[in-house]
């Protein structure tokens, strides 16, 4: 084994020391001949004869040299180097061809590398911690379908029960991932002095040990720090530590004010601790009290469970166990848990799924893959054209004894050189592309927290893609060359005949393929464009312009009960109404178009349904003037008034869709419904019907919705909404002041205008679709160039034939028609294939993008028409040239 290795290394070294070794060998040969001549002379031969005999006995020097090289080196590698040298020399001699081919491939590879940087950043990056694949995330499955219904958080009672009862996990931790904590002005910051809302998570003390991460500074939570009294400890993210506390090591052990209480900083996490989609700034202990074990707590599903699998336990076994436990909970607590299943995923899987970017990236990668295929087809076409001009050269080489395999290998090498050059230039372009995409993806914290970079994954990917291109591009000309008919080509008559059948078949396949791919991409992008356009221009059901919004969370320490929260809100709204320029003011648990939670409900007088078939509706808690402020029209009855308070009978307002879907368009006013929300479900009377509002700004469908009156269920976390008479951003400081007057320590989160909020919520979709559009356009241009090139080539090949036809009496229009017909036939076939491929696209998009529902039959007419037009143009130019051929010139042409 060692011997073999040593020999291989020696051989490899010999390949690179070729010149020196050859030189040495020649010296040895010379010495050999001298010795032989000398001996012959001693035997008495005349000088001339002595030399002649020596040479004869030595045999062919060149042959001996070749044998020597083969014996000492790696013949295959030698040939490769030879081919490479030859290819580079050949490419150098035709700079125009080389530039075109390299740039085409570079574009194709650059877009692929750029998009792959997203795959690498979002899908391939390993979560931090020890063996992340052995960490399972347990979620509930909401029987009411909805956005990611199978990744719903779990209630505290279920967490406690499952933690004890399971046999599959060595340890289980829980995290409430969506807390907001206010930090009062401290540390170093531009907004020092003003309270700031931070993204926080409340986690069980074993959370970090389950994930297998430890703080960079200080310590993690220890057992018992989830008990009231000991729970005022906090761990900061690296980012917060750096930005607000100047990376000071002495921060550990110091006290900071959070939610108006003192917390001791015990640790700082490393910068590498980041879970995709959860850009937390700090972690505090999750305290669970007896209140969290009541029946009412079962409805509060807010915990993600992270658990480490026992060694030897598979994910499947864990899943089976958790489903059993969830069913058991459903039987014991049918009121709250019936129908709620459990889902188990690995941590990486959960993060990627929850982030919901897989579909978008899939579409992007498919698109750039097709762009690359088109680019390869173009370069293959170019190589084919070039090989056409070189057929005589190849024929001569074959006659002189070059093996066909050798010729094929050489042409493939040429493809390889082009692909590698293209790959290098492509990577340079990708470097900028990645920067650009990174700069465009800033629509929310979770996305911009993920850095895009040209990492090893991208490099390896680009390298493999380049090699694939080399094969794809080089294969066509190589196959063709292997079939070269020596006789015809040497006789200089190659152009006399029409190109061979196999030759034109290859070309037809390439042209039709390019057309099919381009059409598929254009239809797909067109559909997505249309979908995004519809969503951006749809009637949301309220007036978004001139609205200023901000989020507020009332902490439990100061606002202990409903009464205090109601009082604060009444006070706040009164102050806000006094702000000059504010036309209307309201608060709500959810803003219009921001996706309220969905609740199950029952209607008095209707049949009781099993839990998993219960009616559902979106549920918001709103203040009196909410509808007026948002501009949601009242259709029947009344909205909330001053008299709808904590002591009066419960009332609700529903939307039109609710009446249609759940009440079958019967008279809604006076009907009693009961929502499974709040601590104690109560029957409420429907007093009004309002217009539908989109539940998400990117969803195009309307869902049944219920509005409750804020004084009757004062939730601690809500948003403020102000309608301004002019630019809403002008009211920002007035809003801040008004809130500060009501409570100086209360932070305002996410202050922004409604249009900005909607744009942020639509997130990447418009950006994605615009990028996609660029790619599809690129594909179309490349395909047009490719079609032009291939048709022009084929016409050029047939110049002689056309000359004969014209000499025999064919007129210009006849020739034009003949060439056009050939082009159109390929276009028609390609377009049909592309159409067939594009037919199922709307269904695919429906499945991939929640709420996107597009059917645009006209696209299937317009896009093919556009493709045919472009193909026609690309065919017409060479056809015109062909029809103006002078028969005499054409016939004389060799």
């Amino acid at each position: 084994m060692i011997d073999w290795l040593r020999q291989s290394l020696q051989r490899l070294r010999c390949v690179f020391r070729r010149d020196q070794l050859d030189h040495e060998l020649e010296a040895e040969f010379a010495a050999h001949l001298d010795l032989a001549i000398e001996e012959n002379l001693q035997r008495g031969m005349p000088a001339e004869e002595a030399r002649r005999q020596a040479l004869i006995r030595f045999g062919g020097a060149q042959q001996a040299k070749e044998e020597h090289r083969e014996a000492r080196g790696l013949p295959a590698l030698d040939i490769l180097f030879q081919d490479l040298r030859y290819a580079v020399r050949g490419l150098w001699k035709s700079p125009g061809f080389t530039t075109a081919a390299v740039l085409t491939l570079a574009l194709g590879i650059a877009v692929n590398a750029t998009m792959f940087s997203m795959v690498s950043a979002f899908l391939l990056r390993r979560p931090p911690g020890r063996e992340p694949n052995r960490v399972a995330v347990v979620t509930s499955v909401n029987p009411a379908s909805g956005f990611q219904a199978d990744a719903n958080p779990v209630s505290a009672p279920n967490y406690l029960a499952w933690r004890e009862a399971n046999d599959v996990f060595s340890e289980m931790a829980a995290a409430d991932q969506y807390r907001t904590v206010s930090m009062n002005g401290q540390g170093q910051s531009v907004t020092a002095g003003q309270p700031e809302a931070l993204r926080a998570a409340a986690v069980s003390p074993n959370y970090f040990s389950v994930l297998g991460v430890s703080p960079r500074l200080g310590r993690a939570f220890s057992d018992g720090e989830d008990q009231p009294g000991r729970d005022h400890v906090v761990i900061l993210s690296h980012e917060l530590w750096e930005q607000r506390f100047g990376s000071s090591d002495s921060l550990i052990g110091r006290t900071i004010r959070l939610d108006r209480e003192n917390y001791t900083v015990i640790g700082v996490m490393p910068a590498t601790f980041y879970l995709l989609g959860f850009p937390h700034q700090l972690w505090m202990p999750l305290t669970l009290t007896t209140a969290d074990q009541t029946a009412a707590a079962r409805k509060d599903r807010s915990l993600h469970l992270f658990a480490r699998l026992k060694s030897g336990v598979t994910l499947e076994q864990a899943r089976a166990e958790m489903v059993t436990l969830a069913r058991r909970a459903g039987e014991s607590f049918p009121e709250t848990d019936k129908g709620w299943d459990a889902a188990v995923r690995t941590l990486p899987d959960f993060l990627v799924y929850g982030f919901g970017i897989r579909g978008a990236i899939g579409v992007m990668m498919t698109t750039v893959g097709f762009v690359l295929l088109i680019a390869c087809a173009n370069v293959a076409g170019l190589l084919l054209t070039r090989a056409g001009g070189r057929r005589k050269e190849l024929a001569i080489r074959i006659t002189l004894g070059a093996g066909r395999l050798r010729i094929v290998r050489q042409l493939l090498t040429e493809g390889l050189v082009i692909a590698l050059l293209g790959g290098s230039v492509g990577l340079l372009l990708a470097y900028w592309g990645i920067h650009f995409i990174g700069a465009s993806l800033t629509f929310n914290e979770a996305i911009s927290a993920v850095p895009l970079s040209l990492d090893w994954n991208v490099l390896v990917f680009s390298m493999s893609v380049s090699l694939l291109c080399a094969v794809l591009c080089g294969l066509a000309p190589a196959l063709q060359a292997s079939r070269t008919d020596v006789n015809t080509h040497l006789k200089n008559e190659s152009r006399a005949a029409s190109p061979s059948r196999s030759h034109s078949r290859l070309r037809t396949v390439m042209v039709t393929g390019e057309i099919a791919l381009a059409l598929f991409l254009l239809v797909g992008t067109g559909l997505l464009f249309r979908g995004i356009f519809l969503i951006e221009h749809q009637n949301l059901g309220f007036r978004a312009a001139h609205l200023l919004t901000a989020g507020v969370t009332l902490d439990k320490a100061t606002y202990k009960d409903s009464a205090e929260r109601s009082l604060f809100v009444r006070n706040l709204i009164a102050r806000l109404k006094d702000v000059p320029g504010a036309d209307a003011v309201a608060i709500g648990s959810d803003l219009p178009a921001t996706g309220p939670d969905s609740v199950t409900l029952r209607i008095k007088g209707q049949l009781e349904l099993p839990a998993n078939q219960r009616l559902t509706a979106l549920d918001s808690v709103v203040s009196m003037d909410y509808f007026e402020t948002a501009g949601i029209p009242l259709l029947h009855g009344r909205t909330f008034t001053e008299t709808d308070n904590g002591t009066s009978p419960r009332v609700v307002v529903v939307n039109e869709k609710f009446v249609h879907r759940h009440l079958q368009d019967q008279e809604p006013l006076g009907k009693q419904i009961q929502l499974d929300a709040g601590a104690t479900p109560q029957w409420s009377e429907i007093v009004g019907v309002v217009g539908n509002v989109k539940s998400y700004s990117e969803a195009s469908r309307d869902d049944p919705q219920v509005y409750e009156a804020f004084p009757q269920r004062p939730v601690p976390s809500f948003s403020i909404m102000i309608r301004a008479s002019s630019d809403p951003n002008g009211l920002a400081s007035a809003l801040r002041n008004a809130v500060a007057q009501a409570d100086a320590d209360l932070p305002l989160a996410r202050m922004m205008s409604m249009p900005a909020l909607i744009e942020r919520q639509q997130g990447g979709d418009p950006v994605f679709v615009r990028v996609l559009g660029t790619f599809a356009f690129l594909a179309l241009v490349l395909a047009a160039i490719g079609i032009y090139g291939l048709i022009a080539y084929s016409v050029g090949q047939r110049t002689h034939e056309i000359g004969i036809r014209m000499a025999l009496g064919a007129k210009t229009p006849d020739v034009l028609r003949m060439v056009l017909r050939e082009g159109m036939k390929m276009t028609a076939i390609g377009a049909s294939i592309g159409l067939a491929m594009a037919l199922p696209l709307p269904k695919v998009f429906d499945a991939m993008f929640y709420g996107l529902h597009i059917r645009e039959p006209w696209l299937y007419a317009i896009v093919p028409a556009a493709i045919v037009a472009v193909a026609m143009l690309a065919t017409y130019m060479p056809a015109r040239r062909a029809s103006h051929v002078d028969p005499m010139v054409a016939l004389r042409q060799e």
């Binding site: 011997d3 040593r6 020999q7 020696q10 051989r11 040495e24 060998l25 010296a27 040895e28 040969f29 010495a31 050999h32 001298d34 010795l35 032989a36 000398e38 001996e39 006995r57 030595f58 045999g59 062919g60 020097a61 042959q63 001996a64 044998e67 020597h68 083969e70 014996a71 000492r72």
Partner: protein, 117 residues
């Protein structure tokens, strides 16, 4: 050519070179080629040039070593000598060849006898 010369079987040249170096000590390429020709009584079809491929092969396997030096009549030449590893290999290969040739001899002799009967 009245009597055709023996075409060398693959690997036999390597063995001849080893044996030559083992018996003659340090020798240059020409010397090795001449020695083989002389010993075989000019029965072997050998283009002297081919000896160099064999030499580089043996060298890479570590069976012989080479060094530039000066010949008896004051010429610069590359001298080859057998290594310890080479001697070991030679004894193995020689044994193998002797076994093979004795078996071949017997087999062919048997056929002759069969032809007589």
């Amino acid at each position: 050519m009245a009597e055709s010369k023996l075409d060398l079987l693959q690997g036999t040249l390597d063995l001849m070179v080893l044996q030559t170096l083992a018996t003659m000590g340090e020798l240059h390429g020409y010397g090795i080629a001449r020695r083989i020709e002389q010993v075989s009584g000019d029965k072997v079809l050998l283009n002297q040039g081919t000896i160099y491929a064999s030499l580089v092969r043996l060298q890479q396997r570590g069976w012989i070593s080479a060094e530039w030096g000066t010949s008896s009549n004051n010429r610069k030449a590359k001298f080859y000598s057998i290594t310890r590893k080479g001697r070991k290999q030679l004894s193995e290969d020689a044994a193998h060849w002797q076994r093979l040739s004795s078996v071949m001899g017997r087999v062919l002799a048997m056929q002759d006898e069969g032809g007589d009967q």
